[in-house]
Amino acid sequence: MENMRLKLKVWRQPKPNSKGQFVEYQLDNVSEHMSFLEMLDVLNENLVSKREDPVAFEHDCREGICGTCSMVINGHPHGPQSGTTTCQLHMRHFNDGDTITVEPFRATAFPVVKDLVVERAAFDRIIQAGGYISVNTGQARDANSLPVSKEASSASFDAAACIGCGACVAACPNASAMLFVSAKVSHLALLPQGKVEAQRRALNMVKQMDLEGFGNCSNVTACEAECPKEISVNNIARLNREYISASFSYEEKEDKGGGAG
């Protein structure tokens, strides 16, 4: 196939509080074998050679696992290809003469840093609120002393495959983080090791999610459709069950304390 000519409409916003706008760029000689980010590299090389400010975008592993790359391409977080991160989206899925619109993930809880870069630290704070198993280094017993069924382990993995990119939030009309939160709650609750604090975890993570300004879930399921790791909305149902049962039954009790000696 001949090289493609593309028109790019890219969101440019120099600073978090400055006004942004779409800027058009013409790009020729785009090879179908390029990844989307390599295409942006070429654009940036062109801009730098003209002593213009390159487009800021986040990226790192470029193999679909670190979750750093983001951006909304033609209205889809990570672009139109299902189950694919932006870094693994290749230009063979576009056509010569296409106009491609590129903009940042948009959500109150993900403020724009510059151009296509947003701040997703809210996700870290949600994990800090309870997305872990409370075990110190050195306390573990032999790994095979507690069998875990292949099915449970596999289902847990399916949820644990979340890369924390935030596409679910960007896809949701309410900018809800339910898919992200539910994936972590499911990953841990499905394993016997994580069951012990499952209720506390669900309550605390949901509380933090609300504090961060993410919206509510209204079962649109766009999150599942756009998730590059194809995390299922069944996790949201599981989170709701955990959360509701925890709301009724879980009570953080104060330790009586004291003790002799």
């Binding site: 090879s31 213009e52 800021a56 986040e58 193999e63 750093t68 510059k114 870069v117 994990i127 790994a143």
Partner: protein, 667 residues
């Protein structure tokens, strides 16, 4: 400078137990008064920071990523080794130790490697307790697979995403400590200098990448867990932001860089497809459990495939050369990485490559699909299945084992690997060299520790598959938390380190000068273009095969390129008040331009072939690496004093008391 590895006395098997039981401790009330800086939040950094926090130290953890979960450990695919012997196939701590020493071509320190093998079993226990969903069998117990260079199945895995799952485990432990307040996390902060006070490492200068502001951070000790320097080659399987800056800035302050020429070229990566290429993607070594590597026997077949007139499927069985199975019958496709990579290069050099560039060999799953298909049909009671049924069932089994890798291959190349053999070629993947450390993982700078890929410690001249995750987590969870006590026990009377002391002010000013210099050049060429040119020099002359002539030329070329960089690089934007990824890159490439030269110097001075370091002048008649134990059984630890003087070599002789140095054979 005399290098003391500080290996504890006594028999190999007792060293670590004895050490752990006698190392000085820091009492809980004193731990609360001691600050530790951890730079990097990958497996080694996150594990260390979390564990220090659990022990009660005050920890500051830095990453240049937007979140600690993004570190490149996350991209490790295949697995993690541990001497659990769950398979009952003859594995043991000693065997893992021996395999690692031999795999490293006898260029690692025995005591460190034995300790690594010992703690490997704890890592699996710890990870399972954290909720890492390792692959399991129907009985609910953990599954294993094999990796290169070994004859047992000791690799634990989580589909093709083992690094991701282990890193999430460490990240969750770190997150818990952040919420408890024992760890302060600094995201989007890059270490740009090491601060020394009275000869000890006491802090860092970090740049806030969002604002460009320089910050002074002080602590009683500094731990670097900042990964490898593979990106010096520009194209590698490393993530785009992986860099040598933190380690190199420490070298600039006096730390020694050990064995920098020991770099790992991984045999199974997706080949380069064009000039715009920004990185290479690994296809996990686990695929070599079932994939058979081959090229056509005849050059005309290879030429027809390159021209698109034939495909791999058109080549008859008898016209294929399964060159790894032919050359190394004992290990076959599971020879270590350095051996497999060189064999692929030899095949392509002979004109048998199968990609348009001439640089690719096939990795073929049809035999495995056939074998699994028959076995599956048999378990279903069908003992005479037709070919289509076998194929269908076999593809399903292969998909279950490697589905995500096959999907990744198809996304990148547009070819279906279930139908056509994969095309693969070696690419830079890992760096065995790194900061010189002793048994305590302490560098020659008192109070400066290095963990994970950024130290040189455990893999000698070649790392075995599934051992990087093992080392990162061993260092972070189980080694440093003990060994750092050896240093800190003497620091309990040291008051809080003052970040406003003249040493800190000076280091910050030095850093600002470096940044201002880069910003003021305002030349014509992009940072990226310099990086690409450096990578080309390194790959061609200090890559899979090296020789004195090429290396000498490379050194000259790197020096010229560096001069040109400082005259003509263009860094857009400004240094402060904005997020400026181009400036971040410029600072990293500036350091690669120095590190690259040191690698070449090291490769030139090591006049032998071992592991990933293949000097063409030193090979057997069969083209195997020819080691020179009499003259080169040492760690080359380099002191770097700037552009105008040659680096100074310090040798740590390697003492082998437990294994006999043999020519490494996988035949």
């Amino acid at each position: 400078m005399a290098l003391n590895g500080k290996t504890p006395p006594g028999p190999l098997t007792d060293k670590w137990t004895k050490y752990r039981s006698t190392v000085p401790l820091v009492a809980p009330n004193n731990k609360r008064r001691i600050d530790i800086i951890v730079v990097g939040s990958g497996l080694a950094g996150a594990a260390a920071a979390a564990t220090f926090g659990e022990l009660g130290y005050n920890v500051k953890c830095f990453t240049f990523h937007d979140s600690p979960r993004r570190a490149h450990s996350i991209a490790a695919q295949g697995g993690i080794n541990a001497a659990k012997n769950y398979r009952n196939d003859g594995d043991s701590v000693y065997r893992l130790f021996y395999d690692t020493i031999k795999g490293g071509d006898y260029r690692a320190r025995e005591s460190n490697v034995y300790r690594l093998a010992e703690v490997s079993t704890n890592i699996i226990d710890q990870a399972v307790a954290q909720g890492v969903p390792f692959a399991r069998e129907y009985g609910g117990l953990l599954d294993n697979r094999s990796f290169g260079g070994v004859q047992v199945s000791r690799t634990f895995y989580a589909r093709g995403q083992t690094g991701q799952q282990l890193l999430i485990g460490a990240y969750q432990s770190l997150s818990r400590q952040i919420s408890l307040g024992t760890v302060q996390q600094y995201n989007r902060h890059e270490m740009l200098d090491l601060v020394m006070v009275d000869g000890k490492a006491r802090g860092i200068i970090a740049r806030n990448l969002l604002t460009g502001e320089l910050e002074r951070h002080a602590a009683h000790a500094v731990v670097l867990a900042t990964g490898g320097y593979g990106n010096v080659f520009y194209l590698s399987t490393n993530a785009m932001m992986c860099n040598v800056t933190a380690a190199w800035r420490s070298v600039r302050r006096g730390a020694l860089m050990a064995n920098p020429c020991f770099t790992q070229i991984h045999p199974t990566c997706i080949p380069v497809s064009g000039d715009y290429q920004s990185k290479l993607t690994l296809m996990s070594e686990s695929l070599r459990n079932d994939g058979r590597v081959w090229v056509p026997k005849k050059q005309e077949d290879a030429a027809a495939i390159r021209a698109g007139k034939k495909t791999g499927r058109d080549i008859a069985e008898d016209d294929r050369d399964y060159f790894l199975e032919r050359r190394y019958p004992a290990f076959g496709n599971l020879v270590p990485r350095d051996v497999a990579s060189r064999a692929a290069k030899v095949a392509c050099d002979e004109g048998l490559g199968v990609a348009p560039t001439g640089l690719a060999v096939f990795m073929d799953f049809s035999a495995a699909i056939d074998r699994y298909g028959k076995s599956k049909a048999s378990t279903m009671g069908n003992h005479h299945p037709d070919a289509a049924t076998v194929r269908d069932l076999g593809e399903k089994v292969v998909k279950e084992k490697y589905g995500n890798l096959f999907a990744m291959y198809e996304k990148i190349t547009g070819e279906d690997p279930y139908k056509m053999p994969m095309k693969i070629y070696p690419a830079v993947h890992y760096t065995m060299g790194g900061l010189w450390v002793d048994y305590n993982l302490e560098t020659n700078i008192s109070g400066l520790f290095a963990a994970g890929e950024c130290n040189f410690s455990d893999h000698g001249a070649n790392r075995l598959g599934a051992s990087a995750l093992m080392q990162g987590l061993a260092d972070g969870y189980f080694v440093l938390p003990y060994t750092i006590g050896n240093f800190l026990a003497n620091e309990i009377r040291t008051p809080k380190i003052d970040a406003n002391s003249p040493e800190f002010i000076k280091a910050e000013a030095d850093t600002k000068t470096r940044i201002d210099q880069l910003m003021s050049i305002k030349g014509k060429q992009s940072v990226e273009s310099f990086h690409r040119r450096l990578g080309k020099i390194m790959w061609e002359k200090c890559g899979m095969a090296r020789n004195a002539e090429g290396l000498t030329l490379a050194r000259q070329q790197i020096r010229e390129l560096r001069d040109e960089f400082y005259q003509d690089v263009f860094v857009p934007g400004s240094a402060t008040g904005e997020y400026n990824p181009e400036l971040e890159k410029a600072l990293r490439v500036a350091d690669f331009l120095e590190m690259g030269e040191l690698m070449v110097v090291d490769a030139l001075s090591r006049k032998e072939s071992c592991g990933g370091h293949f000097r063409e002048e030193y090979q057997t008649e069969e083209g195997e690496a020819l080691r020179d134990d009499a003259n080169y059984a040492y760690v080359a630890a380099w002191e770097y004093n700037g552009w105008d003087t040659d680096p100074v070599l310090h040798k740590e002789e390697l003492v082998f008391e437990n294994v006999e140095l043999k020519s490494r054979s996988y035949k």
